[in-house]
């Protein structure tokens, strides 16, 4: 029941020198951005507000048309994918989701199978198995008959991850998945995503404000600022104090944990004077 | 991005529906009648439809007060097996079974009376009923009995369908003669009349209404006979400005005086202030009837009496 077949050559998701300029905007939202995510990797996109992180994500999925460059999913142009085929390849957990009508957890997760079913076929044995596996993997099996609106933020988030897993994708993309979660739920979610990449061979891509968590779980970080990719590599290389202070326009120190993971520590600016 | 075109079957749908609706309007053919050895009868009704009965009609349902009164006036009241709730003249009509509304009638209630002829009022709201009655094979004659001149034609029509054409002719002739006798020549200064159909907001009648005719025959003049149709809304200001001599109100209870002067703004109309308000029996004045000559005489007398306070014509 794993998601990625063995021996997959090449990145699952890739942006190649992508440029996007919104009409009427002074500067480009994305400038000549390139990065890739391969199966088995967990990559985090980090950077300040408005840097272009979500734009990069949308470009990657073919939701935002490119003014230059290419966006590739499994080696093919993102814009060329039919919606249902794309859903079979990439599972996306977006920032916000509010169902208009009440829905139970198991109904929600089953919707992940629709891309496989088309308009007419009912759910078969393999579909039910995929749903069961996804819910077990995301640890929401016990919540199956609960109404979505009664779940906590963390539980709903995991349900949405389960739904994405039910799609049996090769890549998993998450946009700010932990923005409203507490410590425990955030750590659990990152653990889940990292293990999905390592154990199940998915190509995992997250956008997050929580650089410290991303630094501990991701294999690589892509630092985006002003629409450009400023750094791309293992967290220890990317998280450099001077670079971070320049990008975030705030004095930042970098500490190292026992396991070697770098952690960003913003410094307090004194009331008068200070670094600048 | 793909251009947002409508689903291509939309045009097909519309053409299909138009075609289907055209087929659905297959005109009904009337048949039936009691067939007692009498010859078949055929007339053209007021909607241009040819009505053919196998024999004279003996079970008639009348769906308008005007046609109910007409049937009785022709001496055929015994053949009526159904009337509307609103048919109250002559008093004998009350003994005829009530089938409900005349406008948009209950087709089943009509059919339950097993009529061999239905007299339907010529209103657009009755189109559906016409279709339904035709579909179940009940002959229908549509009568537009709105004006005095319709009476002679429709009397002959109904009489022919009942196999008594002579009754129709004699009624029509007698009516014409009586009306001519009762009609006064147009006076130099006709009594100016305002007809109050509804007080708030004000609605009156126009050229196309029977009331305008009867007022003219009685030596008066509807101050709004420049309105083309049968009725229409007017402003109170216009009424006050045209300054009628008399205000006429239709009611079923002629003893109760309508308190028009209590309505906001009606005090601006001189006739209302002076109490020159005439209440007319709706049953007699509301639709063309063989009683018209008598009604004209009564109205002429009333108009003269009420407007005398103003210095007369």
């Amino acid at each position: 029941m794993t998601a990625a077949p063995a021996g997959d050559a090449g990145p699952a998701l890739a942006l190649v020198r992508a440029t996007i300029r919104y009409p009427g905007a002074a500067a480009a939202a994305l400038r000549d951005a390139s990065f890739a995510v391969s199966p088995g990797e967990c990559v985090g996109i980090v950077g300040p507000n408005g840097a272009g992180k979500t734009t990069a994500l949308r470009a990657l999925l073919g939701s935002a048309p490119l003014d230059a460059g290419r966006a590739l999913v499994l080696g093919r142009d993102a814009a060329g994918w039919a919606p249902d085929a794309l859903a079979r390849a990439v599972g996306v957990v977006g920032q916000r989701e509010e169902p208009a009508f009440p829905v139970t957890v198991i109904e929600a997760v089953r919707m992940g199978r629709y891309a496989h079913l088309g308009p007419w076929r009912g759910l078969g044995v393999s579909d039910h198995d995929a749903v069961a596996w996804a819910m077990a993997r995301a640890d929401v099996a016990a919540l199956a008959d609960r109404w979505a609106e009664t779940l906590s933020g963390g539980e709903w988030q995991r349900v949405r991850v389960a739904r994405a897993l039910a799609q049996e994708p090769r890549a998993l993309v998450l946009d700010e998945p932990t923005s409203s979660l507490d410590v425990r739920h955030e750590m659990e979610l990152f653990e889940l995503v990292a293990s999905l990449a390592r154990a199940d061979g998915l190509a995992a891509l997250l956008v997050s404000h929580h650089i410290n968590a991303a630094a501990r779980f991701c294999d690589r970080l892509v630092l985006v600022a002003g629409g450009a990719v400023v750094a791309d590599g293992p967290p220890a290389d990317v998280l450099d104090a001077d670079r971070l202070s320049a990008v975030f326009d705030w004095p930042i120190a970098v500490h190292r944990l026992a396991d070697g993971a770098p952690q960003l520590l913003p410094e307090r600016r004194p009331a008068a004077g200070g670094k600048r | 991005m793909a251009s947002p075109r409508r689903s291509p079957s939309f045009l097909f749908h519309s053409i299909g529906l138009v075609a289907a609706l055209c087929c659905a309007c297959a005109p009904g053919r009337d048949a039936g009648g009691s067939g007692r050895g009498a010859p078949p009868v055929s007339v053209v009704d007021d909607w241009g439809r040819t009505v053919r009965l196998a024999g004279p009609a003996h079970r008639i349902v009348s769906l308008a007060p005007a046609s109910t009164e007409l049937v009785f006036a022709l001496g055929l009241g015994g053949r009526l097996v159904g009337r509307t709730t609103w048919c109250d003249y002559p008093p004998a009509a009350r003994d005829v079974p009530d089938v409900g509304n005349g406008i948009a009638p209950s087709v089943e209630a009509v059919a339950a009376r097993r009529p061999d002829l239905v007299l339907l009022y010529a209103s657009e709201a009755d189109r559906a009923a016409l279709g339904s009655l035709t579909r179940i094979g009940i002959p229908v004659a549509v009568l537009r009995l709105d004006r005095a001149r319709d009476l002679a034609r429709d009397a002959r029509l109904v009489a022919t369908l009942a196999g008594e054409p002579a009754a129709g002719d004699s009624l029509a002739d007698a009516f014409a003669a009586a009306l001519a006798a009762a009609t006064r020549p147009a006076p130099a200064r006709p009594v100016r009349v305002y007809v109050d159909v509804q007080s708030d907001p004000p609605i009156t009648v126009g050229r196309g209404s029977y009331l305008t005719e009867i007022i003219a025959a009685a030596g008066g003049r509807n101050i709004f006979d420049d309105i083309g149709g049968g009725s229409g809304p007017v402003s109170l200001e216009a009424v006050a400005q045209r300054d009628p001599d008399v205000v006429v109100v239709l009611a079923s209870d002629t003893t109760a005086a309508p308190a028009l002067e209590r309505g906001a703004g009606w005090g601006a109309v001189a006739a209302v202030r002076a109490g020159r308000v005439l209440v007319l029996d709706g049953s007699l004045y509301g639709h063309p009837s063989p009683r018209m000559p008598a009604a004209v005489r009564a109205l002429a007398a009333n108009l003269a009496r009420v407007s005398a306070g103003r210095g007369g014509p």
Binding site: L61, P83, D84, G91, V92, G94, R96, E98, P99, A100, F101, P102, T104, E107, M111, Y114, A115, P119, R146, R163, Q167 | A2, P4, R6, S7, F10, H13, S14, G16, L17, A20, C22, C23, C25, W47, T85, D98, G100, I103, A104, S106, V107, E108, A109, V110, A111, S123, E124, A125, R127, A128, A129, G131, S132, R135, I136, G137, G230, G232, P233
Partner: protein, 331 residues
């Protein structure tokens, strides 16, 4: 509050049977059950047979079809605009149809199919106008703009209707009001067959989009990520639901409440899987309208109430009861 599938299907079937029986057994002619059964079997007096076969049966068939179509259209539009308060007329359609019909009546068009056709044309004009207005930049349908456009266009058409009625002959006004209030009389088998044939493609389109409608209720972005072609689904559902409603209105005037309440009742009882919601709404909507029409014909016999009065009078309290029970029953 939710029912399991077998009892639910049984209840639905029972409702349909009761409705069909009621529709055939009641009417202004006061036929006995035996007479009706005989007529159905082809025996009995020709007059009775004509009443049953030419008046009651087409009326029941029309009622079931119109009720079913309105409920399905309502369910689809509720998912499309992600708003539980949507009904088939929310997108301005009733205004356009009413305007067409009232214009035809005011102009004195007398052919038997003139008014339904004018109503249909009025609906088409509204559908087109609202569609154009509902397009945000880029050409995709924006649900909130669509809703607003529908309200505005409907209000505009309604104002025109009021104006025309105010200036009309009282006979025409009466005629127009009766049409607007809706009614199932006056349509024969040919009309029923035409409506049925016309409705099938629209219903098939909606059935095909049922899965996509499930996804759409989560939101447009999630739906897209789960594999729905959102822009295409919105166009198709809008077109199919609108055209179905336009045809129903052309046949029977503006009958309210069915398209709003019936889908909700099904959702409360079975959830919002549209592959089940749409057909179940059709059956319940049809049964509901047939029952309401039977009531409209008999409560004040021989006078007939407009069926829309019954659907509201009965539907609103029923709906309130369902709402309260489900609110208590939710975990």
């Amino acid at each position: 509050m939710r029912m399991r599938r077998a009892p639910f299907l049984a209840a639905l079937g029972a409702a349909a049977v009761v409705a069909l029986l009621a529709g055939v057994l009641v009417g202004g002619a006061h036929l006995t059950g035996r007479e009706v059964m005989a007529a159905l079997g082809g025996r009995g007096a020709p007059g009775t047979r004509a009443i049953v076969w030419q008046l009651r049966l087409p009326r029941v068939a029309l009622g079931f079809l119109v009720g079913g179509v309105l409920a399905v259209a309502g369910a689809s539009l509720q998912a499309l605009v992600r708003n539980p308060l949507a009904d088939p007329y929310l997108l301005g359609l009733s205004g356009g149809a009413g305007l067409g019909a009232v214009l035809a009546i005011a102009l004195g068009l007398t052919a038997p199919w003139a008014v339904p056709l004018a109503a249909f044309v009025g609906s088409l004009a509204t559908i087109t106008l609202v569609y154009r207005l509902g397009r945000a930049a880029g050409g995709a349908l924006d649900s909130r703009v669509l809703l607003l456009a529908g309200v505005v266009v409907g209000a505009f058409a309604g104002a025109l209707v009021s104006g025309i009625l105010a200036l009309s002959e009282s006979a025409q006004t009466r005629s127009a009001l009766l049409w607007l209030m809706g009614g199932l009389g006056g349509v024969g088998w040919a009309g029923v067959a035409a409506l049925a044939a016309y409705s099938v493609p629209g219903l098939v389109v909606l059935a095909r989009e049922a899965r996509a409608l499930d996804l759409l209720t989560l939101g447009e972005e999630p739906a897209r990520h789960l594999g729905a072609d959102v822009a295409r689904t919105k166009r198709r559902v809008y077109a199919a639901a609108s055209l179905l409603t336009a045809a129903a209105v052309a046949a029977s005037g503006i009958i309210g409440f069915v398209g709003l309440a019936v889908p909700h009742a099904i959702r409360m009882l079975r959830g919002q899987d549209h592959r089940e919601l749409l057909p179940a709404s059709f059956v319940l909507g049809g049964a509901f309208l047939v029952l309401a029409d039977a009531g409209a014909r008999t409560l004040f016999a021989p006078l007939e109430l407009p069926v829309g009065v019954i659907t509201a009078l009965v539907g609103v309290p029923l709906f309130a009861v369902l709402l309260r029970r489900s609110a208590r029953g939710w975990p």
